[in-house]
């Protein structure tokens, strides 16, 4: 009953991209740094985002990743589902004749209600909106700067901060 690490990372990264001028390309190492994500692990996360079509990748020297879709068109739900597939609160909520109890089981509708709430909230949070919340008051930009100064020699080989 928890979002995977990959989903969390994906959201961070996409928000960062959404806060940049449209068309900006950012390389993996940079995304890993600002998102506080293990760099190699980020490969897998970005791959899925590319496959989903919301992110575009550019290989070679000077390459990197950029949004393939306007930030306003991407919701947190889109990002999570790009990583994890469709969100199902319980096994009985998959489409089709999955659970013969669903017609009468009183718990079924509570599961459904819970799932709907999650979908609604996540679906309403657009990347554009989130990026706007992040940038104004010395947030992403400031943090990046701070990091670039304070962590110069440490190089993040150790265990990352969870969350």
């Amino acid at each position: 009953m928890q979002i995977t690490r990959a989903s969390d990372y994906a959201v961070r990264v996409v928000i960062h991209l959404a806060g940049l001028p449209v068309g900006s390309t950012v390389r993996r190492s940079e995304l890993a740094r600002v998102g506080d994500v293990p760099e190699h692990f980020l490969s897998k996360v970005l791959q899925r985002l590319v496959h989903s079509g919301m992110v575009r990748s550019q290989r070679g020297a000077g390459g990197g990743f950029s949004l393939a879709v306007p930030a306003a068109k991407i919701s947190m739900l889109d990002v999570v589902q790009a990583i994890e597939g469709p969100i199902r609160m319980n096994q009985c909520l998959i489409e089709g004749p999955s659970c013969e109890r669903k017609a009468w089981c009183p718990a079924h509708q509570v599961w459904a209600e819970t799932q709907d709430a999650v979908l609604k909230i996540l679906g309403a949070a657009s990347m554009e909106q989130l990026a706007a919340q992040a940038t104004p008051g010395s947030t992403f930009a400031y943090r990046n700067h701070e990091k670039a100064i304070t962590i110069s020699g440490v190089s993040g080989t150790g265990r990352r901060t969870p969350g």
Copy 2:
């Protein structure tokens, strides 16, 4: 991002107990049948419910399980958390200084909002209320009866229906 099988089973079983006259004791095999749960697996589920204090167990011949608390006092959230521990939508939502981003990360508050919604919906669904929804119109009672008749010789050794 899905409730575990054990939680689903636990909810089914507690609803069943909640629909019976107070103090009724039901043995594991019976609970497994009406809940459509693998019987041996149900042991572990019931154990946790007993440890949490909401269910009481009685060993030996004529023993079984009964509610230790009024059904109205037990919510679906209580049951789920008895099985899985506290619900955390994301790692950054655990109490204390878990994630240094939480102060400024725009996604954090969306995760929090989502989790609150889940807690609220699950917390509002009481076992008494759910049991009442189940019993009136030939639901649990009917199903049980139906099963007792139609499945007499089959004995549920095969794979159970998911959900």
